[in-house]
Symmetry: C2
Subunit: 233 residues, 2 copies
């Protein structure tokens, strides 16, 4: 039996959203055709954003403990539905006996070939870390980084979702998207797994929004389908 | 750090629904105030309904392996968001070093004191097992069991949700509820964790519906809050 490991809880609602996406993307007629998963919903992991910005506890020991736990559960691959934590991707990958899928590579790969510019909606930690910029540059795409005012709305939207206040999250995200649209942005990556939850109540935003949670879920189902573990929907 | 173990995947969407409920019932302002969980989403577990009815593989070895896995992950309590599997509750409880919450006891406890009759919407396996009848009788409540025609709609609704066909699940459940209403049923327990997912699109059904997924999630958050692990919302 193949098992997918999920290092989750960052945040918990984003992990739930990710699991739902995996279930929906799997073509299964009964329970037994779904993908078995071990989900370590480690909500207590120290704040990744503040750690990258230099003023909080290092989350790496907790992350490696989570990778160890999943490896001990004999998972065959690991997915991590949190973008910011991919700042420590090299260390987690080196620590794991099994592959760790990369959320930013999955998200950037979802951009159509004709795209030359894409805004990155992410935590300040993710932006300072720079792994989205690197992944976009590798495909010849210019990253557009939000202004300070727009970033304040994005930060507030993320915090609101983490606190379960989806309405506030949606309102702050709507304001950020409106400001980006006025700057001529047509394509944006929701490069934080709280943002798709805030985007859901907005409906059509007349902007191409790449959903990093969905793209990671798709990468997991494709990985599993290629190995004959499930059928993709 | 306290950890809740979840023996899930029966079915996978019901496990996602259960996790969402736990997150929503927790009063948390940031990730770190949420409840850490290890979720063993063991979708491959052999069909519980057919095993109780006597014509399929015994799922007990897979269930006990799941209980072992969660105990090895050092969880402090276990919840199982599947009703039918509680047929094997005594064996799972005896096998676990930590408490296993009981979904039927949590659901029956949610019925208001004045209730004298409640319909049980469940798999044929759960009904044959009889643990809901026993829990209701212990509170002096008469269980109302669906007619053969209504049970066919309930079975079809459950199977549709397990296959991801929520619209079909909702339509078959609506027909079952309408038939029960004609019989004068005013209160029903959704005693299968697929049924609340089918009920969601129906909106107000003018029947008191006890949601076993929600009640198990509430029992987990109350259990954790009583021990100071989280605050209940």
């Amino acid at each position: 039996m193949a098992l997918i490991g999920v290092l989750g809880g960052m945040g918990p609602l984003a992990t739930v959203d990710f699991m739902r996406r995996v279930v929906e993307l799997t073509h299964a007629r009964c329970d037994q055709e779904h993908l078995p998963m071990i989900v370590a919903n480690l909500a207590h992991t120290p704040d990744r954003r503040r750690a990258i910005l230099g003023d909080d506890i290092d989350p790496l020991p907790a992350l490696l403990a989570g990778i160890d736990l999943l490896n001990r559960c004999a998972v065959d691959a690991i997915a991590i539905p949190c973008n910011t934590v991919h700042h420590w991707y090299p260390q987690m990958r080196a620590h794991s006996a099994v592959p760790v899928l990369h959320i930013a590579l999955a998200s950037v790969a979802a951009l159509p070939a004709c795209i030359r510019q894409a805004a990155v909606l992410a935590t300040r930690g993710t932006l300072v870390s720079g792994f989205y910029e690197a992944a976009l540059h590798a495909r010849g795409i210019d990253p557009i980084l939000p202004s300070a005012a727009v970033q304040r709305d994005i930060d507030a939207s993320i915090d609101a979702v983490k606190a379960g206040e989806i309405g506030t999250g949606a309102a702050r995200l709507a304001r950020a998207l409106a400001a980006l649209k006025r700057r001529g942005v047509a394509v944006a990556i929701m490069a934080c797994t709280e943002i798709p939850i805030a985007a859901l109540p907005l409906g059509d935003t007349s902007m191409m929004l790449i959903d990093s949670t969905l793209e990671l879920a798709r990468a997991v189902v494709v990985f599993a389908a290629e190995r004959g573990w499930v059928r993709a929907a």
